[in-house]
């Protein structure tokens, strides 16, 4: 279900300088692969197995019918995937879970008063002339999973993207959403926050529509002429409160196995309490045009041919909203395939992509799924040719990602102990498209990722994908500098690397939005997410009926060249990780990145202090009132909590220690790694493998203990977006200064523990 935006997620690889970790340079390293076969030749053989045409056929078949959780085709797809893996020589099985997954029984949305009333919203997507014959019989109607059933009639209020800053703007306009139905547009933050924030502000119901400005006709011609969202298209999705915990709402922290102890539904805090529906801009235009009240401020305005008003009165746009769901448990079908390691069978390289979609799911997720299948088939052929991975490779095809990372989370929770003992890394992908290489992940793998992107070639230009990513970053930074007011794009490391091919391009941090979350943020398993995009875009049909094979093949990845490239990219990463004799991590990159994060949160604390002072001054001088148009409703902002002095000492010393320990380890490994004997390597691996678990703290993040990683988390009020040093950063953002000070200490403990483990590893390398 993931969506990504912009340059922050870009990265690519350095020109290959002198390197010491096993796989960072693609130099011949015959001892790292199957006997008699050097690494380059192995990877070339792997590439030769990737057949875009075959991937296209798989995609067409997998995307031929709706494949949401509980659908017949989704189960059939899982069974087919498991059978394919088996046929290619994998040990494969289907693992099932029984999860809460509500499906719609009935729903209604009507404009009952105001201009344009009465009007009944369509709530379904019709096939489009010129598209494939689409399979609408089993398609879910307009629906968001884990909304709260209800039947309400109330005036409508337009709240822009429905994000925290939009409620501040409404407050300044003197507008309350209490008892009203809030309509927001998609974008600006994660879907699930929109109805949640409406609920927190007292709303009785919520609607989310796709404004043509954000992914409709304003962005491109609409499907089937172009890739953009047609008038009747809407975005399904999950509105579970994922930032509290993902997975089955009834089994937080444990696997949703048959006999798991389950919460009562009413006690499951991740389920919304108010009804919510997603709608098309065709439907939304009628509702929005009926609103009165203040004219919406400039940043609220979309591209519908209307004057956007805020609404909120009984006369101008009153709506009846009713949703009723079937709340029974449904079965998930996770496919798990294994290639047992020849030397270290208890070291697991786990790689996954989900197979469930909202409707046909061609781009999301099946374009990534067929890459995973192509990799799996290629490994099978390499094995027949004599290659055996040293470590165990586990390929996973998740079910139920769309409703809330269900399949991956329940599997990770069920196998937590084994994964903590055996997991080396989790590698993810999801929907894929034409364009630029991107990766996010644990920063100790940044140099490794750069090594991969230096070695795969862009099909459009013939250059390594790192070169295109670097060029794009450089041009974007230069153009932002010219006309974009010098905006910060990706921080100092990105600026330094954009024009210097000897430097690694930085990778982004992982927030949420795909299946790595439980591994990285609950189990402390380092994770990397790979993908291509930025040219062929599926955004306009995201989570709609129109994300079908024809759309993907026409607009997102013609010829499946980038789906094939994803297979070559991830396949390389898996092979290198499975066969390396020494850690590929470079901990200095992690330490440097964390140091940048610390600088950011310290600057943020200063900003919050300045803002509170500035606001107090403006309130004191009556400036808000004098600056407002007296003929329009307006109100002072609620006063900010003043900033107390903060002490970052615990975090500063932990980061200093981390930098020193990382530098020492990297230097030791560079100097002595190749000379280590088998026993020492095993000892080293025993320290490195569980290292990232030191980033977990048992208390978890404030108010959401499931998230235990003190460096990487999804934002509480941004959703998909990553928050780094989240215990500290979010507390400062939200002016919870006591939490912030507490988590300076807690985060410092985690980083110190990490550094201490690194010191142990260094001692081993140095002959300890």
């Amino acid at each position: 279900m993931q969506r990504r935006h912009g340059i922050a997620a870009l990265l690519s690889a350095c020109a290959v300088a002198a390197v010491t970790t096993a796989w960072a340079a693609p130099a011949p390293a015959p001892d790292k692969t199957a006997p008699g076969m050097d690494a380059k030749a192995l990877e070339a053989k792997f590439d030769a197995q990737i057949d875009p045409a075959e991937m296209g056929r798989w995609l067409q078949q997998l995307a031929s019918e709706p494949n949401h959780v509980g659908s017949a085709h989704n189960k059939a797809n899982a069974e087919w995937i498991a059978a394919q893996l088996k046929s290619w020589g994998w040990d494969s099985k289907i693992e099932t879970f029984d999860v809460l997954y509500p499906t719609p029984i009935s729903e209604a949305l009507e404009l009952v008063a105001g201009p344009g009333a009465p009007f009944k919203a369509t709530l379904t997507e019709a096939p489009i002339p010129g598209d494939l014959p689409t399979y609408t019989k089993d398609a879910l109607p307009a629906y968001v999973a884990f909304q709260g059933d209800g039947d309400v009639t109330a005036p409508l209020v337009y709240a822009n993207y429905g994000m925290p800053e939009d409620y501040l703007a409404l407050e300044r306009m003197g507008v309350s959403v209490k008892g009203k139905i809030v309509i927001t547009r998609y974008g600006g933050g994660w879907r699930g926050l929109k109805p949640l924030l409406a609920q927190m502000h007292g709303a009785a119901g919520a609607l989310i529509y796709s404004d043509p400005k954000d992914d409709g006709y304003a962005t491109d011609d609409v499907y089937p002429k172009g890739a953009a969202r047609p008038r009747q298209g809407f975005q399904r999705g999950s509105v579970a409160d994922m930032p509290i915990y993902p997975g089955d709402p009834l089994t937080p922290g444990i696997g949703a196995t048959k006999d798991a102890k389950r919460l009562d539904r009413k006690d499951a805090v991740t389920i919304l309490k108010i009804p919510c529906l997603p709608i098309s801009y065709g439907d939304a235009q009628v509702l929005l045009a009926s609103l009165d009240g203040p004219v919406a401020p400039a940043n609220f305005r979309g591209s519908l041919p209307i004057t956007y008003h805020i609404g909120g009165s009984e006369a101008g746009g009153k709506v009846h909203l009713a949703v009723k769901s079937d709340w029974s448990l449904k079965t998930l079908y996770d496919v798990i395939g294994t290639l047992k390691g020849s030397e270290a069978p208890n070291d697991w390289i786990v790689r996954g992509n989900h197979h469930d979609g909202w409707v046909m799911g061609a781009s999301d997720p099946l374009s990534g799924q067929v890459a995973l299948l192509a990799e799996a088939k290629a490994f099978g052929i390499l094995m027949k040719g004599g290659w055996k991975p040293k470590r165990t490779i586990v390929y996973t095809s998740w079910d139920g990602e769309e409703p809330m990372l269900l399949g991956s989370t329940e599997w990770a929770e069920t196998h937590a102990a084994e994964l903590k003992a055996k997991g080396v890394v989790y590698i993810n992908s999801d929907g894929n498209g034409r364009g630029f290489f991107r990766a996010e992940g644990s920063h100790a793998f940044q140099h490794f990722v750069n090594g991969i992107s230096a070695d795969v070639k862009d099909p459009e230009t013939g250059v390594p994908v790192r070169d295109r990513a670097r060029a794009r970053l450089a041009v974007t930074l230069a153009e932002a500098g010219n006309g974009g007011g010098g905006r910060d794009m990706g921080g100092p490391a990105a600026k330094a690397a954009a024009n210097d091919p000897t430097k690694d391009l930085p990778i982004g941090a992982l927030g949420s939005g795909s299946d790595y979350s439980a591994f990285l943020q609950h189990l402390g398993l380092p994770s990397i997410d790979f993908g291509y995009g930025g040219e062929g875009e599926s955004g306009g049909v995201y989570h709609s009926l129109y994300d079908d094979f024809q759309h993907h093949a026409t607009f997102v990845d013609p010829g499946f060249a980038y789906d094939a490239l994803l297979a070559k990219t991830v396949g390389r990463a898996v092979m290198r990780l499975a066969d390396t004799d020494l850690p590929v991590q470079r901990y200095g990159d992690f330490a440097d990145t964390v140091a940048t994060y610390l600088d950011e949160v310290k600057k943020l604390a200063d900003t919050r202090r300045d803002e509170a002072r500035a606001q107090a001054r403006l309130l004191g001088s009556n400036a808000y009132n004098l600056a407002a148009d007296p003929t329009k409703p307006h109100a002072n902002p609620a006063p900010f909590t003043p900033s107390p002095p903060m002490n970052f000492g615990a975090l500063e010393s932990a980061v200093a220690k981390l930098k020193a320990s990382s530098a020492a380890f990297d230097a030791a490994l560079a100097a002595k790694g190749e000379g280590l004997g088998k026993a020492q390597r095993a000892k080293l691996n025993a320290v490195i493998k569980p290292l990232d678990q030191t980033l977990l703290r048992p208390e978890g993040l404030p108010g959401r203990p499931w998230y235990m990683n003190m460096v990487y988390a999804p934002g509480r009020f941004t959703g998909y977006g990553a928050k780094t040093l989240p215990g500290v950063r979010e507390a400062i953002e939200e002016r919870r200064f006591e939490d912030a000070q507490t988590y300076v200490g807690v985060t410092g403990l985690a980083l110190s523990a990490y550094a201490a483990e690194l010191d142990k590893a260094t001692a081993i390398v140095n002959g300890g």
Copy 2:
């Protein structure tokens, strides 16, 4: 015709600190006014004469029929204004000029090929149900003055705002406009630049439309429900090449009197060579929807419910455009009223506002015109009560401002010698509306302007208008700091003053767009422009039929409270300047402001150097090419001229001298001004009165010698927007580095001459 935007034009007044110039503090100063009447009482009596209801009646009458140049009602208005002045005790007359002013004979615009063809554009504005019975019989159709007649048929290309950066974007898309008809939207820069830049890039014709995003339904409900531009409304205006010279194209630099030597029309460089029409968004939508070619980039997109394409092909949107004009000379009617000074009849305080409109012209310009009339009537009443201004007051009601500042420019050129000998200051206003005080002008008057805005009260809130302006600036800066990415808003002086009521708020520099241009930029007469706005806005009906009395009275200034406030504001300025015994100028403000400008141009030179280096690096590494989508047309940017080293020494030393001389004069005047005898004051006045003429240099600006002021000019490629230190700044902007270096010297000479005159004034104050 002026339009202003944003906070940069805001200012207000300081809390009254210890001051020494005569009028900066409103303390009793009995020697400054008529015998027996102190200043405050005089101003209170003046205020009592301002009658908003009467102003409303005048406005309704003046705006009752179309009043463009050459219309019967425009002439009748001039005669009525002259008669009113006479009836109030002024010496008044009408001065005529004979200027080139083309009027439309025929025009046509049709879509001849592409989707939607054939389609004939309406090119007229129909009356709107709910509006006043509008007088459409004599209204000009869609027309822009000084376009070049022609009859062309060619494919249409959409060029966004048609500004230089838009052509760079088209270049990057590999799009040429050569031989095509360019359609641009209003906004982003001055109207006249749009067809001019199209012509410079080889276009055969040009269209300008009003996108609903900029002043239509996206901004507010459309008229008559709200203030915004209705579907059929369009913006007339001038497209003469004003940045070369304003006024009659046939008589640059001299008055267009009956027997003036005139250029041949073909030699008048300010007349466009290609045909051009302004159109409504109703018409534009059909044309834009017919285009094919690349999808327009995000910053090109307006709020029409279409996918914006660039166009340019024979198949997708081909247009026939034909315009034919009557190019005969027409007569202008400037009204000139005089109140002779009792002590210094050869010191002129000149105040003006134009009376011609594009159609009814209620907001633009008649709202300012009725303020001028109210002031004139009040002065008449004060005179009957015994007051006599010490200096001569000249009230001017200009004709032909809309087509290109014709009336003011021809009058200023005709009376150049007398104005250079007698002019003290020129004070301007134009269209006015509800909201916030703003002023721009010569910075030596900044403190004086602050004194005025401290003394007039806002009708909505009851506080001095300076307090509201300061509050707005403070809130805007704080909100920009919070969410606006720390954009620079008005520079360091604005930041310092926003929250410190002891500091003067800075005033903006004057560019062009109203009648001060000839006075300030051609004759060196210091100028100030006053107005209110930001709440009641006329932008949506700007230069359309719908800028009528009902629109102004309903949306722009209900009750005419701010039109009356403008009269009180400008009336005060005129009275204080007419009666002061000592200069009101504070030259330190001018010197400080110029020093800021110098910092800006030095920084700009660095930026241009960095940009050229960055671009060369990107071209060298093939980055533009690698970052582009290979499936879409794209091209490298044209290489920038590399920046040679620049030497700002001449300007640095001139500014240092200016600061020292200004400080010395301000200090001397503060210490000894009040003690000066009558003869010394006359000597001082003789130096101060023509002082700003030292800012003129006979060579003028590069390529536009009419503009001789080395500190203030309208931008060559921004139009209305001011460029300060224009000889240097624009040359650096456009990478004419030789010009830049030359004008460092030329500008330095002007500032040094200014400082030398100030030194003479200081010597006089000190007893010389």
